[in-house]
């Protein structure tokens, strides 16, 4: 891409023709982004409803199945995601105050943390494949609760899979952003893309904040006291 110039259509710093002020354009983007995040809340909401209904009807099986998940890996992943939220927020802050170098570094840090999260997920999924806990034809689960445990794992893979997919999209967005930041596109009066990607990233983090306790910690006390 050539050096960015105001008129260059690829570089949307210029005021779009149908807006009156930059302020109006920025507010419109923010409201649009938040409405998109509302659709994401309802999108994940469908699966949360399936989880709550399933857990209400088979809490024994759900507890048992939840205990096969590795809580430490889950906790590590939560911490990684919270760190990535921090670096994302600092990247937005850097863009606001115009420290161009810092934007790139913080975006790269967020991408790195995102990839770590996905790496840990791959390890967990591999472990699930090894133990035949993946629902479908050769699903195997000891004990009499196998049928309902398969439902837990269906919801587990559905939710964490969807979340991981959103992470991959997020990392892709951040990569594009980092390249553009490297080119110096973002100035204190024009950093909307950084902020919007930040909103998206924080949202994905919030989803995980709810997923972690609901999926991993469900029966943690159950395992300890063993009753």
């Amino acid at each position: 891409m050539s050096t960015p110039s105001a008129e260059h259509p690829g570089h949307p710093a210029a005021l779009l023709h149908h807006f009156d002020t930059a302020e109006q354009q920025k507010d419109a983007s923010t409201l649009g982004m938040w409405l998109f995040l509302i659709t994401e809340i309802m999108f994940f909401g469908g699966m949360f409803t399936a989880y709550v209904a399933g857990r209400f009807r088979f809490h024994e099986a759900f507890k048992e199945a939840s205990n096969t998940l590795d809580v430490t890996l889950g906790a590590i992943n939560t911490t990684v995601l919270i760190c990535s939220s921090l670096t994302m927020a600092l990247a937005v802050h850097a863009a606001q105050v115009g420290k161009k170098k810092q934007i790139v570094w913080f975006l790269l840090a967020t991408i790195l943390l995102g990839c770590t999260f996905l790496g840990v997920k791959v390890v967990e999924y591999h472990d699930k494949f090894v133990h035949h806990h993946v629902p479908g034809l050769h699903f195997h689960f000891p004990g009499p609760n196998a049928r309902n445990a398969e439902m837990f794992f269906s919801i587990y893979f559905g939710m964490t899979g969807l979340h991981a997919l959103h992470m991959v999209v997020g990392v892709g967005l951040l990569a594009v952003l980092a390249v553009r930041a490297g080119k110096g596109w973002f100035t204190p009066d024009y950093y909307t893309p950084v902020e919007m990607t930040g909103l998206y990233w924080h949202f994905v983090d919030i989803v995980w904040i709810f997923l972690f306790p609901l999926l991993y910690l469900l029966g943690a006390h159950f395992a300890i006291t063993g009753h």
């Binding site: 923010t30 606001q96 904040i209 972690f212």
Partner: protein, 96 residues
Amino acid sequence: MSNHIVSTRIYFAVFAALIVFTWVTVAVARIDLGLYFNTVAALAIAVTKALLVVLYFMHVRYSTKLTKFVVAGGFLWLVIMIGLVMADYYTRAWIG
């Protein structure tokens, strides 16, 4: 939201709080608090963590009333969906 700049100090404080809450939720989950208190505790912590991220990291605390309204509306709709679906499941055994 427009261009209110949040100082990095607040970011680090919120970050620390989130980390602490993560450890708390793992620790609390290990103790058996009776019937459903474990779930309530886990959800309460998760909601506070989510609020911290929404208010500070996502700047909703400094943004327009409209944005706050939209965010609250979104979560309210989620509660409506889960609530009314569970109303069916919860009362299904009451046919009597």
